[in-house]
Symmetry: C3
Subunit: 350 residues, 3 copies
């Protein structure tokens, strides 16, 4: 299945790109170089010199231009070649690279590989909680050898938490768990509720281990693979009496058909100035995402390869409902997308 072109993909965290340090990543099979101009705004170029096809990230930034590291051609943020350093040499018209819309919002960097005229920043999913006052964010990045949709499947069916993340999050309330899905336009939300249980180890820094509570995981999905989790603990049978609420961003961008970028940020409202709380969160992010989820997703990918998951007739469970709808919305969007016939060839790594 091709990638959706006319959409915003998360490219990275804003702090990953500074005026001293550009960043190259492949997004949806497009090799990109994102850099910060001297005025602080971002530029995104196809990461490939049109002369001898070396990646521009092997060069360096000179003012607001990128100099190729091989023969010194320089390209501005619009992709036009602005300098060829040998005496008497002309700059040919073909010496230009594709530039891409790029937006920085809510501490995240987004790129649009499709038709630039349609790149409307208001289509970026809302992650404004990341910049609300009185929150503390702890995030990271994980490269995964798996298709990005396997990752969003994983996130949209949190019943896996009981098994994949059992040491930190298994709950005896899981036996009483309920699951439901809501859809509003192209936005999907799944709810998994664990009623009247004791706090699993993960929550014991926030709660006394003896406190019974109802836990609800609310997963909001937006195109193409952007998820926001709201995890709420409330007094048993009293949804209005909130014991805690955590928000987090889980954004997956395809790198290639079989690899992906996973960006995550946990955002808390308690213990704001406690570096130990940061470290604890980093530890379980590392354990949960790198040690537990990643091997599972990569094992799936090794089996599924470049086939479509649904074409393999998977046994369908009730808890798949959110993931299946999300896949359907995405597939429909891709099927209906106008072709972009004059796109430059942007990548052909095998």
């Amino acid at each position: 299945m091709p990638f959706l072109q006319n959409t915003w993909y998360m490219f990275g965290h804003a702090h990953e790109v500074t005026t001293d340090s550009f960043l190259n990543r492949t997004i949806a099979d497009v090799d990109l170089l994102v850099y910060r101009k001297t005025d602080g705004t971002l530029a995104a170029l196809h990461d490939l010199c049109p002369h001898r096809f070396v990646p521009l990230h092997k060069g360096k930034q000179i003012g607001d231009a990128i100099q190729c590291g091989y023969h010194g051609l320089e390209f501005g943020s619009d992709g036009q070649c602005v300098k060829h350093p040998v005496t008497g040499a002309q700059i040919p018209k073909t010496a230009c690279v594709q530039s891409y819309p790029v937006v920085e919002r809510d501490t995240l960097i987004w790129v649009w590989p499709g038709n630039a005229d349609r790149a409307d920043a208001s289509l970026i999913p809302d992650y404004s909680f990341l910049t609300q006052p009185d929150r503390r964010n702890v995030g990271g990045y994980l490269h995964t050898l798996a298709n990005y949709q396997l990752s969003s499947d994983n996130l949209l069916d949190l019943s896996h938490v009981q098994f994949v993340h059992s040491s930190m999050q298994a709950s005896e309330a899981f036996e009483r768990s309920t699951f439901r899905v809501e859809q509003e336009g192209e936005e999907i939300t799944t709810y998994l509720t664990l009623p009247n249980g004791l706090p699993p180890p993960l929550y014991r820094t926030m709660l006394d281990p003896g406190t019974p509570l109802d836990i609800t995981f609310e997963m909001r999905w937006n195109l193409p693979s952007c998820i926001r989790l709201r995890m709420t603990g409330t007094a048993v049978g009293k949804p209005e009496e909130q014991l805690f609420q955590t928000m987090s961003a889980h954004v997956v961008s395809p790198e290639t058909a079989s690899t992906s970028h996973y960006f995550y940020i946990n955002s808390r409202t308690t213990d704001l100035d406690n570096p130990e709380a940061d470290a604890t969160i980093r530890n379980w992010q590392e354990q949960g995402f790198t040690q537990e989820d990643k091997p599972m997703l990569e094992a799936q990918q090794r089996y599924i390869g470049d086939r479509d998951l649904m074409s393999l007739n998977p046994a369908g469970l009730k808890t798949d409902a959110g993931a299946v709808r999300a896949r359907r919305i995405l597939a429909e969007r891709i099927a209906n997308e106008p072709q972009i016939p004059d796109r430059l060839d942007t990548r052909s790594y095998a």
Copy 2:
């Protein structure tokens, strides 16, 4: 060439599977999970959850069932799903995995990937010497990046011992060596005799270095790639006067078309309670199989790739006769095998 389906492949040594520790291996392109039920008998399942296609070996054994490590589905030894842990969720009919005939015999575990109705345990080649009293067995396992038939070729032409294993086993009697082949039905036996030589280093723990002897290697081959070696030393010209006799099992199971499992067991009748003798045998098994044979087989594989050896018109030598007959018997069996049209898809790793 496809793999023979209606045959017993060695899956592992019996001690590799306990009630505390299941084992996954791919046999003839089928990913298998073999586990020991609470009554001590074995079960073999396709190592793949039909829900989201993660390997079942990432889960755990619960009683006589296997629980998938991703979303907690449980499967019995017949492959039927027996539990889905979310409240109110149905188990769909498609939630089942293929189960396979599995037999434990003479300390070896055998699986049958083909039609279960035809899985007759009496077809398993005889390795009963492994359980005879007054023997001491030392064995192991080696993974090889080569087609399994290259391994049986190697075993059926022991003239390679003089060159590949020269430091331990080269004999000046090799210049006088003779070679012959016998066939009885689908059983092949090759005989390599080194007459009137002095014992090579390997035998000097059993024999005085000055003792002249005749050595005979008798290699019995059975479908699909199961070999038993009887190595006999006799007084020169007096075949009835036996100086030593060693038996060993050499069983090769295909993993994929280009990789294989090599199981070996040396079984001796002398020095039974001597741990140093065990260590000596382990050392030359490591040297001979891992350091010497394996690189040779893997170099062959790199050249031959997925082509058929015989299609490359190899120069034929007299000592190939056993290997060539074995290949012919196997190819004929495969050609005559009924198709199994309703087999589940069992593997599609590239």
Copy 3:
């Protein structure tokens, strides 16, 4: 694009092959074993036993023959099998390997994969400076994961030195640089001149840092990918007043379509008996070729893959002129080459 067959490819440095130590390398997809016979002359065989297809380099040299390490077949320097060690066994006619013309000249070893009747040693490019008295040579070998033509492109456009090798060789005179190309028959020469600059760090062992000079790089290219660099420093505006002259050999041989062998030798006329000068040269060869050129070439290869560079419509610069002509000459030669229908299959690694 296939490889040119009727041409001399550099196989290695003469000192790499001794009577005690043969050398195997793949040249233009042909696996070769080159060894030195007891009389000191060289022989080149296809590195593959025709019996069971293991490489002959896993065996050993016995007199002027090579013994296969698997079953002991021996092959003479003409490729004929001269011994099969088992009693009463015939040597089949098919037990022979292809032999190849091989020549040692000017400390370099050259092989000819094509029609042996056309292998004229006078076609080998002239590297006689390597054996002139009063010179000191420091050379080496580098394996590169890139097509060999990317390497000759690199060498024929030395404007890359200013950017790729900037720390050692960047010159402020580069802004005034001029470039031109000459062609004589199938020989290409490119000239890059940096007028009236101060010596870059690389030259400061030979020159006072304050000496202004004109530097000229003269690159001579011969089929298939053989380059000789003459680097000359002269007093500003006085080309007759030479300050230094360095010669060097840069010979690239294809291994496969996507990998190559790079052989280089720096030959100097000063400081002949100074081991420190040797070490300094080795250091910048290591830095320049391994640390700086190689990653650039390999990045190109990852993008270009098995496509032809020119089919990708690269933006053309004036300084490409030498490389483009060299590619054209080579492509023409390959297109006009007679087919060799009865060539043995020499390699089929993927």
